[in-house]
């Protein structure tokens, strides 16, 4: 980088400091905290340091280190907070999953059901490594996020395929959201949320003027033209189809919210929000009236403890009691009984373990960490200079925020449970890998946004007046 002292242009090449060292310092904490948490849980569970302590620490440190080096090299101006927060959440998630692996109660339950109880933490560690590998891949291969713009329509097709595929696979736990290949299964919805954000960004960037301006005023609202309404109807229909055929309330909610947010940002028209809310309400109420799966969820939300009388699923009630038993400071890692929740304790309901063992303080800290990731994402969108980057960043951040809200709200009984996973913390390969990719794209956009403008090429004719000679 050349010195700026001689620069006379109005655009400064100094730019914001790169903050890579800040990121490194925070990464150290993001590795040390989970390592201590691991030691803590191990001591509480068996009175001795867990045997995998060293390899866990080194593994997490390596993942963080590789991530950091790649960011330093390929996205030097990226936001310094995202990688450390993602590492911290992923590391804590591993500890929590490992802690639930030690549960005799869950092992007993699996045995009673005729299954083999397998520890989930080693798999999760492999998935985390894959996630970081994808993170690295995105940073290296994606030279500029605007490249994604080229794949607008391809992403739409891919997203549609990913969303429709699970219909052809058998349902698990009452929802068709998995693609199962032998013992290997992925949850395509997690990847689809990124791909669909890419599609929306590309599509809306092109269509935003038509959507925003070609409209008629009606009762104080700008109504879009019928043909511009087409795409929103398609997505509305798609989210309802997901709801009906895959009984996946969470994914359809996520896509709908994502689409409304991005339309609003692209068109700057409040009328799109009104439409969005109206249509989601119509869809949700319509489906809820004839879909027993959704009705059960709503009933369980209204009265979680009714399950003890009617014999339904008591997971929500168990989660609530886990939160309540944790109180303000929690029981301490490894000393709670959140495994009473049952089979989903390490996936959908992992936040209840946080609630019981780390207490109100720990849960709020985790929620604030998620809030920080979203905040950094929104900030990236604000700082991005190109509309595609803005839309992509806000789309991914909003998707992340909605997912966290829907899962945490469901587990804490704020809204009906929808069956999604807490990003980074919950056990689940697709989720961890997809969210690392999501963070990688956000980091890439923020790198472009914060990168100082390139030094203007030295003009050869700065000194001389051009003389036109005859």
């Amino acid at each position: 980088m050349s010195s700026s002292t001689t620069n006379t242009t109005t655009i400064s090449t100094a730019g914001p400091p790169s903050r890579r060292n800040t990121e490194l310092a925070m990464l150290v904490f993001a590795v040390i905290i989970p390592v201590f948490a691991y030691a803590n849980a191990g001591l509480a569970l068996s009175d001795e340091m867990p045997s995998g302590m060293l390899s866990y620490g080194i593994g997490l440190g390596l993942l963080a280190g590789v991530g950091h080096l790649v960011v330093r090299k390929f996205a030097p101006y990226a936001d310094p907070l995202m990688l450390p927060i993602a590492t911290l959440l992923n590391g804590l998630g591993l500890v929590l999953i490992w802690r639930l692996d030690q549960s005799k109660r869950l092992a007993q339950k699996a045995e009673n059901a005729g299954q083999v109880f397998a520890a989930s933490a080693p798999n999760q560690l492999i998935y985390s490594a894959l996630g970081v590998a994808l993170f690295v891949g995105v940073l290296i291969l994606l030279k500029d996020h605007r490249l994604l713009q080229r794949y607008t329509y391809i992403s739409m097709v891919v997203a549609l395929i990913l969303l429709i595929l699970p219909v052809f696979f058998p349902p698990r736990f009452g929802a068709r959201i998995w693609i199962t290949l032998g013992s290997f299964s992925i949850q395509p919805g997690e990847f689809a949320k990124i791909i669909i954000a890419v599609f929306f960004s590309g599509y809306l960037m092109v269509k935003r003027d038509a959507l925003a301006l070609a409209s008629r005023r009606f009762m104080g609202l700008y109504l879009p033209r019928g043909r511009d309404l087409g795409p929103i109807l398609v997505v509305w229909g798609m989210s309802i189809l997901i709801l009906v055929f895959e009984t996946d309330l969470g994914t359809s909610l996520l896509f709908f919210g994502l689409f409304v947010v991005m339309l609003y940002v692209a068109t700057e028209r409040t009328s799109w929000i009104v439409f969005g809310l109206l249509m989601s309400a119509v869809g949700a109420v319509g489906v809820a009236t004839f879909e027993p799966h959704v009705q059960q969820r709503v009933d369980a939300w209204l009265d979680p403890f009714a399950a003890f009388k009617t014999g339904g699923s008591d997971q929500i009630a168990q989660a609530m009691m886990a939160f309540g038993s944790g109180g303000v400071f929690g029981t301490g890692l490894g000393q709670g009984n959140s495994d009473l929740i049952g089979f989903a304790a390490n996936s959908d309901f992992i936040l209840a373990t946080v609630g019981e063992e780390l207490g109100l303080a720990g849960t709020m800290a985790i929620l604030l960490l998620y809030g920080l990731i979203v905040e950094r994402g929104v900030r990236t969108a604000l700082a991005a200079r190109d509309p595609f980057g803005k839309l992509l960043a806000i789309g991914l951040s909003a998707a992340f925020a909605i997912q966290v809200f829907v899962v945490a709200g469901g587990v804490m009984g704020l809204i009906p449970l929808t069956g999604m996973t807490m990003p980074f913390i919950a056990q689940g390969g697709s989720s961890v890998i997809a969210n690392w990719a999501l963070v990688a794209i956000l980091i890439k956009v923020s790198d472009t946004a914060r990168r100082p403008a390139p030094t203007p090429a030295p003009t050869t004719d700065a000194e001389m007046t051009q003389v036109v000679r005859p």
Partner: protein, 490 residues
Amino acid sequence: MNKPLRRIAIFCGLLVFALLLRDNWIQYVQADELKNHEKNRRVLIARYGQPRGNIIVDGQPITGSVETNGTDFKYKRTYKNGPMWAPVTGFASQAFDANQIEKLEDQILTGNDDRLFFNRTIDMITGKKQKGGDVITTLNGKAQKAAFEGLGDKKGAVAALDPRTGKILALASTPSYDPSKFAGASKKDSDAYNALKPDVDKDDPMLNRALRQTYPPGSTFKVVTAAAALENGKYTDIDGPTDSPDPWKLPLSTQPLPNEGDIPCKNASLRQALRYSCNTVFGKLGDDLGKDKMLKEAEKFGFNEEVFTPVRADASVYPEKMDQPGNAMSAIGQFDNRATPLQMAMVAAAVANDGKLMKPYMVDSLRAPNLNTIEQTDPEEMSQPLSSENAQKLQSMMETVVKEGTGTSAQIPGVTVGGKTGTAQHGVANSKNPYAWFISYAKGDDGSPVAVAVVIEGSDTLRGDIAGGKLAAPIAKSVMQAVLETQSDK
């Protein structure tokens, strides 16, 4: 595009804020309610997470804890001589919760009580496991044994008190159950528990008959009626004749109130009337006094109110609403008049204690794991149903009953014993076997150390006051003897 972006930022902030609010709501505001929710298994897990404190009688634990290898519960409750002590301890089961002392003093027994906070903190610092405290009862092991063995395979109950303090000395109920049999959470335990349910076992062994079953008190209630007569000045001379025709017709009725057998009841003195258990005399007495005075006296003895020992005893009933003949019938312990064995023991105790009724209790003190006493129950006066002078008159009458009346089988050589027999009819037109009652007290130089009430649900066809004297009195006698022996040992 930045304006909508800022709004979306605010929207995302609101989402996070809503989560934080909700988190505070469930983990701070509602935390205690959820923590102690009846369906929260953590309560049970904590209850059996360490050896439970013991319930202690005569310095010896009657309970214990054994380590198990369950996933949820590390320790299981055991009971020594479970069936005998079940009416005192109640049960503590991993699968079926707990009751009576095990439930009421759970916080002490698990060691979670706030008053043990200091102990817990010390233990935590020194790295010791949490331990439960002990509950020291007022019971007398020998008296309990005498009561339980006396009842044998008959259906019935015994309650014995120390009249001077209100300490419960014996509390037996038969048929009984062994709480050890379902202390765990296995299939075997739940089978054992389900077999005890009243719809399976008609004898209802889990019913605590000494505290929770009310019976018509029959003639033993005549002691209360006599107390009402003395207290209200109806008669002052217990040996003077009463104004009592025989046969005597129930008021508003043509129905004569019969006496059991051919006994001299016409104008009999109070002493003779109690000695022979004259229905005519006491029926008329109750009628002469009227319902209000009878009700007032009965309530002074503790009727119409639950007693907490701290285990709850059902309220005995002297009906508040009834017609005149009903009152006369109630005065001889029939009609809707009902009493628990504990209540009748209280009646005998109040008389024996010169008219002062002490509040019955069975938990003497609570002890921390380090043997410090953290709570001591002090004897408490409940009421004064009769003056000391009248109480002594009544004592003299009750002693006559044992000396030469219906209760001779309760005589103990060298000891003054007062008592009253009773046989309560029940069932439509007396179709069912009657209940045999006996209430009594023994007296030494320094007041009376024991008052007993025994009831036996009719296993015998014997009628009349003979039943109370024959079936129930020997049990009362052996309980009193057991208490007197331990007194002289000291």
